[in-house]
């Protein structure tokens, strides 16, 4: 029978909430729950073990018997032992409950219990008091209890953490065996440890179950791995190329100044009388409905719109139409849009795509330096694509392409980064990945960001100026 969580909101002592969880765990499925720290992975698992106060929604077919291993449960058991100790009023030195009693209290499957006691090397410790065990040893006790209680569902929250090598492989072998007839739900930080029997992956973010991925769906699985990489690794932006210096900008002047700007086709006016000044350091979000001219406005700035020559535009110290070339303008700008992605149909490597950002070209037509190559490789590291540096750009998934183009736009640390609906056309997972990368950029560089979208939910921390068309 499938375990189903429907619109479930569960509160944990007012500290944390799991919100509006909709989840079905079918018989025969083994799940891995992932997410960054504090995302609610453990809380989600704890709900199935009966923890938390249900505020809304229902669980149906909750398993009757759950074998639970988690740091919280471990702490709870240790605290309980300690209370027993405190409760002792007699003036004798309490030894506390011996390990074998702790195990026997729940072990209904004697065979499994004995086997694991031996395999995990607990035999010499059976008579020792539980509370005198080391953290790793109590962990083993927890594991034996969970595995030998004939559970309908095994919830293993970081089960491999803190185990020595021999115990780890014994446990892994045992779990592989058990997975044949017991449903497993596992939480792992290190995804390289994800066992083969896991069939589904859930991704938690801010207490919400944001993604569920069938592991046979390779594209979705890979995308999720990338997202986790961005969310869970301490990333910093690779440096600029020290040999690649832009002409100095006058700090007194705005980066961009549009005076009474207009774009017209035939008789149709897309916008007119638009005045806009972008000063260095002020991040902007540009919003507006479809057709309001957001992209046209941006391309006046980038020089991609031919009517930039009939408007009063000052960019990076150039008055447009005064004999400057567009390459003199583009060198100051990093740019990402769906249109760029459509145009970027060059069958070149991922590394070259990022290097092309130094030259503002689609494809790479210039000899690059070793330094630029190194920087590009560092970006690939940030994106979690280092092992794919020589793969072809056009063979990458849509979401991966978008991330690469953002890295391409940022590689030269441009004074102005223009992100024209960077999440457009992306599924939820890839949207999360793109936003995660942009947040990293906003937080850790000196680039001024100009961000266009019409999804209110795609707000980016650090952007506080708004222009609505």
């Amino acid at each position: 029978m499938a375990i189903t969580l429907k619109n479930l909101t569960v509160d944990f002592d007012n500290r944390f909430q799991c919100k509006k969880i909709n989840w079905t765990i079918n018989a025969g499925e083994h799940w891995l729950i992932t997410g960054s720290n504090g995302s609610g992975k453990s809380a989600l698992a704890a709900i199935l073990a009966g923890y938390g106060d249900i505020e809304a929604g229902v669980i149906t077919n909750a398993p009757e018997k759950v074998g639970l291993v988690s740091f919280e449960a471990q702490a709870e058991l240790i605290a309980a032992e300690r209370r027993k100790d405190d409760a002792d009023i007699m003036d004798v030195i309490a030894e506390g409950t011996p390990v074998h009693e702790i195990i026997d209290a729940v072990a209904t499957d004697r065979h499994t219990a004995d086997k694991l006691i031996e395999k995990l090397g607990l035999t010499p410790l059976l008579n020792r008091a539980f509370r005198k065990l080391s953290t790793g040893e109590t962990r083993k006790v927890m594991l034996i209890r969970a595995l030998s209680c004939n559970p309908g569902l095994l919830i293993l929250d970081e089960p491999f953490e803190g185990l020595d090598v021999d115990s780890l492989s014994a446990l892994q072998a045992h779990l592989t065996e058990v997975a044949g007839n017991t449903q497993v739900l596992m939480i792992l930080n290190r995804l390289d440890q994800c066992p083969d029997y896991i069939t589904h992956v859930a991704y938690m973010h801010n207490g919400e179950l944001q993604q569920t991925v069938d592991r046979t769906d390779n594209d979705a699985y890979d995308a999720l791995m990338q997202l986790l990489h961005l969310k869970t690794t301490e990333l910093s932006i690779p440096p600029a190329d020290p040999d690649f210096t832009l002409p100095p900008l006058n700090a007194e002047q705005p980066l961009v100044k549009l005076t009474n700007a207009a774009v017209r086709y035939d008789e149709a006016v897309i916008f007119e009388n638009l005045n806009w000044t972008i000063n260095a350091g002020n991040h902007w979000q540009l919003t507006g409905p479809n057709g309001s001219g957001k992209t046209a406005l941006l391309s006046l700035i980038t020089g991609d719109h031919p009517q930039c020559y009939v408007n009063d535009i000052d960019v990076f110290g150039f008055k447009r139409g005064s004999g400057e070339s567009i390459w003199q303008i583009k060198q100051f700008i990093g740019y990402v849009s769906t249109a760029l992605q459509w145009e970027y149909t060059v069958g070149t490597s991922l590394r070259n795509v990022i290097i092309s950002g130094f030259y503002d070209s689609i494809g790479l037509y210039s000899k690059y330096t070793d330094n630029q190559r190194n920087i590009a490789d560092q970006w690939l590291q940030v994106l979690g694509m280092a092992d794919r540096s020589s793969d072809t750009f056009t063979s990458q998934s849509y979401g991966d392409q978008r991330l690469l183009l953002i890295a391409r736009a940022m590689v030269k640390h441009p004074p102005l980064l223009i992100l024209d609906e960077p999440c457009l056309g992306l599924d939820d997972m890839n949207r999360q990945r793109v936003l995660a990368l942009i947040e990293i950029i906003c937080a850790r560089s000196t680039t001024t960001v100009l961000y266009v979208n019409h999804h209110a939910e795609d707000k980016i921390a650090g952007i506080d100026n708004y222009l609505a068309l």
């Binding site: 035939d266 031919p306 070339s325 060059v346 069958g347 070209s361 494809g363 037509y365 210039s366």
Partner: protein
């Protein structure tokens, strides 16, 4: 009509002009657009070349405006819309030409005489007149005022491509030339180079040529391998497949996209690479078919080259111009009525490799056409670099237009001059290959060899490979493509 300029030269001068072609090095363009900086460039003709070159030149920091006839402005014709919507200054000939330092004549060949006659009296002393094709000067013998500099800058791609590559940060291969009779101030080369830089051409490679070499090789290439061979091949291969019982939708698709797919391999690694995409037995088969076709078609290629050299071709075509394009329009209508053109591509999946495996005859036709055109041009005194660009290099570009909308798209994209020559070739080549086609079965077009045993004779394979690789078009192609990749085009 003025005298044919080429025919007015001595044999010595003719050979000297035909033999002009040199691949220029990137460092020859170090001066950038400076020679044109601050000068007024006025474009005549706002079609695909006119508009897109203008956009590139302006984005390179140059001063570009468009001169249109009063009627085009008053009626707000497409050319007026193209120019004004893109934010260019638009004016009449009378307004703009007298102010121009450089006049860019980017109208179709057919209009050149009228345009140049209208513009010349308005041009200021010492200005420059630029062409993108030498037909008017070479074939029509246009005499330009002595004080004017006459240059040619000819991007070797359709106008949309000229723009798209520039936007990517690259360019398209470009041919430049200075008309020796009109270089009074000795500044023609500097202006042509700056113009090539302004359109981005210097990044993709510039050939320094002559008006004559450009015209005589361009006409030859477009009539034979580029457009003629692809049209003839499309019609013959389609009819053969139908005769052999291949599904019409499949046949139509195999041809429409097959030229593009197979010549893509040509673009990257010449005839050798295209042939290498075939299995060994198929390669030997294609080689043999190509050899046979080359023998059959050689007299036709020679005739085209001879008619181009003597001026007979241009004379014939100009007579049709004078007759309101009667022949051209009739032939164009006939093409629209062919079975290939009228059968839509079927909704079938054809993998990239299948285009080779089931299109052996098409590969053989491309090989035969490229090699013959190259051999014919070089034996007529055109040097190998020019011959390479006008044969092998441009084939994938034209094949690409067929992929878009079959022969209709090809013939509407190419110039009327190319189209006229293409029909001439086709009318002669279809019957010429008649007997040859009788022996063709679906194993080489449509169905593939379908061999269980891929065994080939070692000695024969070595012989065939050597013949393919040692052809002179492969030798010069290797060198020129090498220059291109030196420029780090990473495709």
């Amino acid at each position: 009509m003025a005298e044919n300029y080429f025919n007015s030269l001595s044999l010595r001068e003719q050979l000297e002009q035909l033999g002009k072609c040199r691949f220029m090095h990137l460092n020859e363009f170090d001066d950038g657009v400076n020679a044109l900086k601050g000068k007024k460039m006025v474009v005549i003709g706002c079609g695909a070349q006119g508009l897109n070159q203008g956009l590139n030149l302006r984005d390179s920091g140059l001063d570009v405006s468009y001169a249109l006839r009063q009627a085009a402005i008053d009626e707000k014709r497409q050319s007026w819309k193209n120019a004004s919507e893109n934010g260019f200054t638009v004016g009449t000939y009378e307004d703009l030409i007298p102010t121009a330092d450089v006049v860019l004549n980017l109208t179709p060949d057919k209009q050149h005489t009228a345009v140049v006659n209208a513009v010349m009296p308005l041009m200021k002393k010492g200005a420059c007149l630029s062409y993108s094709h030498g037909f008017n000067i070479v074939e029509e013998g246009m005499k330009v005022r002595d004080d004017l500099t006459v240059i040619m800058v000819a991007p070797k791609c359709p106008g949309t491509e000229v723009r798209a590559e520039y936007v990517r940060g690259f360019g398209v291969p470009t041919l430049i030339a200075v008309h020796d009779d009109n270089d009074p101030n000795g500044e023609g080369l500097a202006l042509a180079k700056a113009y090539a830089v302004g359109t981005g051409g210097h990044k993709a490679g510039v050939l320094m040529s002559s008006f004559i070499a450009e015209v005589k090789s361009d006409l030859m290439g477009e009539q034979t391998i580029l457009c003629g061979m692809l049209q003839t091949g499309s019609l013959l291969c389609f009819d053969k497949m139908i005769e052999e019982g291949i599904d019409p939708g499949y046949a139509s698709k195999l041809i429409q996209y097959g030229w593009e797919t197979t010549t893509e391999a040509l673009k990257y690694g010449g005839v050798t690479n295209m042939m290498d995409r075939l299995s060994n037995p198929a390669k030997i088969k294609a080689f043999e078919l190509a050899e046979e076709m080359k023998d059959i078609m050689r007299p036709l290629y020679n005739k085209h080259q001879d008619d181009i050299m003597t001026g007979k071709f241009s004379q014939t075509m100009m007579a049709d111009w004078a007759n309101d394009d009667k022949e051209l329009l009739g032939w164009r209508a006939d093409t629209a009525e062919t079975a290939f053109e009228k059968t839509p591509a079927g909704d079938v999946e054809i993998s990239e490799q299948e285009y080779f495996d089931n299109g052996i005859l098409m590969v053989a036709m491309v090989k035969a056409g490229v090699e013959l055109a190259f051999e014919t041009m070089t034996s007529a005194g055109i040097i190998a670099d020019s011959a390479y660009y006008e044969s092998l290099h441009e084939t994938p570009l034209i094949a690409n237009t067929i992929a878009r909308k079959k022969l209709f798209e090809m013939n509407s994209t190419i110039s009327d001059t190319a189209e006229y020559g293409c029909y001439l070739y086709n009318h002669a080549c279809v019957p010429l290959l008649g007997d040859f086609m009788k022996g063709i079965k679906s194993d080489v077009i449509g169905a593939g060899l379908q061999l269980n045993d891929m065994t080939v004779d070692n000695a024969r394979l070595i012989e065939v490979n050597e013949a393919i690789r040692n052809h002179p078009v492969e030798e010069i192609g290797g060198t020129l493509r090498g220059y291109m990749s030196d420029m780090k085009r990473i495709v």
